[in-house]
């Protein structure tokens, strides 16, 4: 029996152009106005994996889901162009969006997965903005489903999923029952570029709209960001010409 639907949960983040990250002068956050946003790279990998599973006929339907303001629909469209069947946009904006953290997002994704009876939920392992690496695990906990995090290889084997995970020191293989939550790591796959015909097709695919309240999710966050700072800057360096010079300098410095 092949699983009915796979949910891919997407996150919209700043385009990964790190030298451009600037802290706001009042230290309340990072400047996001005027900075290009796009789908979180790990989420792209998650979408690719879901679409591949569908192409291999392991699953019937891939649903792309994301929470946030209107901009987020563009991310969902990209996922649809990559091969997802339909999308769901959970609208969160303004103050709620600013306070929204992984716990609130996990609650939304969990409520949706339950409502739509998903068999698999795939996410990127972390968002490149807050680097939390939490949403996948928390979604699994709220659903009380097993999790396969940092997945670098996923194989569906009947009612179970075999996941090879990246851990410190190497790889680990586990077998988990479905329904389950997976988070994609860098080496899981290489995401495809959406082709023009698919982008056109994506325009016709459905994106449903809903609010967290429709899912019974309470968006209150008990974590507040007090301030954001730049990391301490390093002092300028010295150039040397040869390896022997380098070794001598390091010895003088007391480094070796």
């Amino acid at each position: 029996m092949s699983p009915a639907s796979v949910f891919v949960c997407l996150s919209l983040t700043l385009l990964s152009d790190y030298p451009v990250i600037r802290v706001k002068p009042d230290h309340s956050g990072v400047v996001t106005d005027g900075v290009k946003h796009s789908m979180n790279p790990f989420c792209e990998i998650a979408v690719e994996e879901a679409v591949k599973l569908k192409e291999k006929k392991f699953i019937k339907e891939v649903v792309a889901v994301s929470c946030g303001p209107t901009q987020v629909t563009e991310t969902i469209r990209t996922a649809l162009a990559m091969g997802c069947d339909r999308g769901i946009h959970v609208e969160v904006s303004g103050k709620d969006y600013e306070a929204m953290g992984p716990l609130q997002i996990a609650k939304i994704f969990a409520a949706l997965a339950k409502k739509e009876e998903a068999s698999l939920v795939i996410l990127g392992k972390q968002a490149i903005d807050d680097d939390c690496n939490q949403t996948g695990q928390m979604t699994a906990a709220l659903l009380d489903w097993p999790q396969g995090t940092f997945a670098s290889e996923v194989t569906i084997d009947g009612e179970k999923v075999k996941v090879v995970r990246e851990i410190d020191g190497g790889l680990e293989t586990i077998k988990i029952s479905m329904p389950a939550v997976l988070t994609a790591d860098l080496r899981l796959n290489t995401p495809r570029y959406a082709t023009l015909p698919n982008i056109m097709k994506a325009k016709k695919k459905k994106i449903a709209n809903m609010k967290p309240a429709d899912l019974g999710v309470d968006m209150v966050s008990r974590v507040e960001v007090l301030r954001v700072d730049e990391p301490p800057t390093r002092l300028a360096g010295v150039k040397v010409e040869t390896v022997d010079d380098l070794v001598a300098k390091l010895k003088a410095n007391g480094t070796i």
Partner: protein, 297 residues
Amino acid sequence: FINTYEKSTFLVSQRFQSTLVVAEHNNDKLTPIMLSAITAAKKLGGDVSCLVAGTDCATVAQEVSKVLGVKTVLIAQNDAYKGSLTEELTPLILATQKQFNFTHICAGASAFGKVRVSAKLDVAPISDIIEIKSPDTFVRTIYARNALSTVKCNDNVKVFTVRGTSFEPTEVDGGSATSEEVAASASAVMSEWLEATLTKSDCPELTSAKVVVSGGRGLKNGENFKLLYDLADKINAAGKWLLWMLDMMQVGQTGKIVAPELYIAVGISGAIQHLSGMKTIVAINKDPEAPIFQVVD
């Protein structure tokens, strides 16, 4: 005389501060990051207890009881904990929390992290902290270490994970903790641990290496990597580690967090994000305009 702030916190937090550190180990030794997690726990003030769960805990429990500052070692031994599956450990941690009512729960920030517990407690975890400002305020990095965020957690129990390189490891000496058995909870039976393929090497673990030499695209082929070996040999540092870095993101924003004493980047043009935390950085590159030179010593 107690000023108003202290008085109100005294009234509000009648329960004593106590931290549970969830131990990561391989039935033989604690992983190095754990000693840093314990340091962080101690910084909070209050009692520190350490939970050791596994299939064969005696050796690790012994080691933990010697760590300076740990008050109690809680031991849960059961076959269900093979592979330290988070689905199995979570009910155990929840039961332990129910029994002892800790104010803080922490672990090292690694693939073993304890985020699942946090969701079950309906608490937002604070991941990968680099500094503790007070029992409810922590500092962590965002945007791949390009910015620092100071967050305050108002939950009843704070769950956080600790970046190992930001806290000095505690001594495994001078401690005399008491041990207590904790009942293992029923198996969740939803996942099965099959095997682990650990990369074998003579070099110690990357995240605790003192010297890291890495090669990037500038090296172009395998022969040039031999030069890296020679360089590392010349430097002859204890605990050196050689790392192939053709895949920049792996050590960069998402992968291992390395903070060696000395980091040598050969043929790597930039990728600024993985450089913070390293004491001395050296870059070797044909291109004098490469961005990496802006941040080296």
